[in-house]
Structures are given as structure tokens and as C-alpha cells.
Symmetry: C2
Subunit: 129 residues, 2 copies
């Protein structure tokens, strides 16, 4: 049985209090800065356990995994390839069409991930300056 220990509580609170997409390193550092330092292995295990329980959710980026609050409506991500900024968007029709596409192939969907890469408004401006 999975336990919601003090460490995991701290991780969960940190993520729930924010609107960011955290990687494990950032979580560890932030907790350490707050005087609640937790071993990096425990952070990784805690994040995995919390995600398993549906208490947080994640996106897998090229290099690393990032976690965010789960108490939001489902959404996908737009990532700026220059500054790394992450925006969220959701689109009911896209979701519905994904379901249909999977059904066509006889698949039973368990999850999906849509990431759009591009240049955010700021970096576009920067580039054209």
C-alpha cells in the first residue's frame, strides 16, 4: 500500500501551490531551500508514487520528465524551443478525434501526449529584432 508520508506531502504541496512544470531536481532544490530537504532518490520515488495515485500528472519532454498539478482539466502543451516556456491549451475536438483514430486501429487508449513545439511570442519578437 502506498503511503502519503511527510516527504510526499511536502512534494505534493509544493506542486499544488504552484502552476509550474517541475522536474525532480527543481523539486529537491526548492524543498531544500525551504528547509525541508529530501534525498533525490526519494523525490523521484515520491513523484512516481504521487503520479500513480493520480495526485499529480506529468509530461515527458525530450530530456526529462516534468510534473504539474493534476487538479486541472486535461490539457496539452505548447513548448517554446528557445526559452523553454510552457503554455497549456485544450481542445475537446482534438481529444475526440484522437479517440476515434485509436478506435479505428483497434487500440484501447490508456493515455496520450500532444506536444507542440514552436516559438513563443517573446522569442519571436526577439528573433525579429
Amino acid at each position: 500500500m502506498v503511503k502519503l508520508t511527510a516527504q510526499r506531502q511536502a512534494i505534493l504541496d509544493l506542486i499544488n501551490r504552484s502552476n509550474r512544470h517541475w522536474d525532480a531536481e527543481e523539486v529537491a532544490r526548492s524543498l531544500a531551500d525551504a528547509g525541508q530537504s529530501i534525498g533525490i532518490a526519494t523525490v523521484y520515488r515520491g513523484l512516481a508514487a504521487l503520479e500513480n495515485e493520480g495526485l499529480i500528472s506529468s509530461i515527458q519532454l525530450t530530456d526529462k520528465k516534468r510534473y504539474e498539478r493534476a487538479d486541472k482539466a486535461h490539457h496539452d502543451h505548447l513548448i517554446c524551443t528557445i526559452c523553454g516556456r510552457i503554455e497549456e491549451f485544450s481542445h475537446a475536438t482534438i481529444e475526440a478525434l484522437q479517440l476515434a483514430a485509436a478506435r479505428d486501429k483497434g487500440f484501447e487508449i490508456t493515455g496520450h501526449q500532444l506536444v507542440i513545439f514552436g516559438l513563443c511570442p517573446d522569442c519571436r519578437k526577439e528573433k525579429n529584432a
Copy 2:
């Protein structure tokens, strides 16, 4: 200037002759088996160079990158989380809606990746057996 050397030609031919999604290790092994053995670092660089030239394309999975032919219409991927089987699908409406969503946020799209995870027909059968 990028050169299409014998090694890169071999990698490109291998991928173009197939319909699979290759990782670097598989490419190296397959070429070695065919008597055309290439250093693993060269395989990685070759794959990156070929992708840069638009001669092959790739999808980034959780753990590794996989390459496939580029001479196919754009498509997304369905991945079986049990056996790893990869199916392709494409949906013009989904593409169009993605563009619209990005524009709404002021992003200039440079790429995107949609992966749907699920159980393929065979593994569904297996599971319910």
C-alpha cells in the same frame, strides 16, 4: 557542409528499405549483421545528420529516439504499452486544430508530436484471455 558518406548512405538505405521505427542500436546491429559495421557514435551522428537534411524523421519516445522513413505523408503514432508495437495514423483535422490552438497563444509552430498510448488488438485479446 554535410556529406552523404558511405556510412550515412548505408543507414539511409536501411531505413528506406524498411517500414520500421529504428533506434540507433538496432541500426548499428543490423548493419553489422549485413557486414557493413559502423561505429555507434557514427550511427548517432549519421541519424542526426540525415534527420537534419529531412531524409529521415524521428519520434522521441520515453526512453529513446526512433527513426523512420521521411518519404511518407505526415502522421502520428499509436504505441502499445505492452508489446511496443507502433501504428501510424493521420488526421488532417487534428493537424488543423493544432495550428489554430498554437496561433491562439501567439506561438509560431516549428513541430509537434502526438503519441497515443494504449493496448493493441493482440494485447487486448491476451489480457482478456
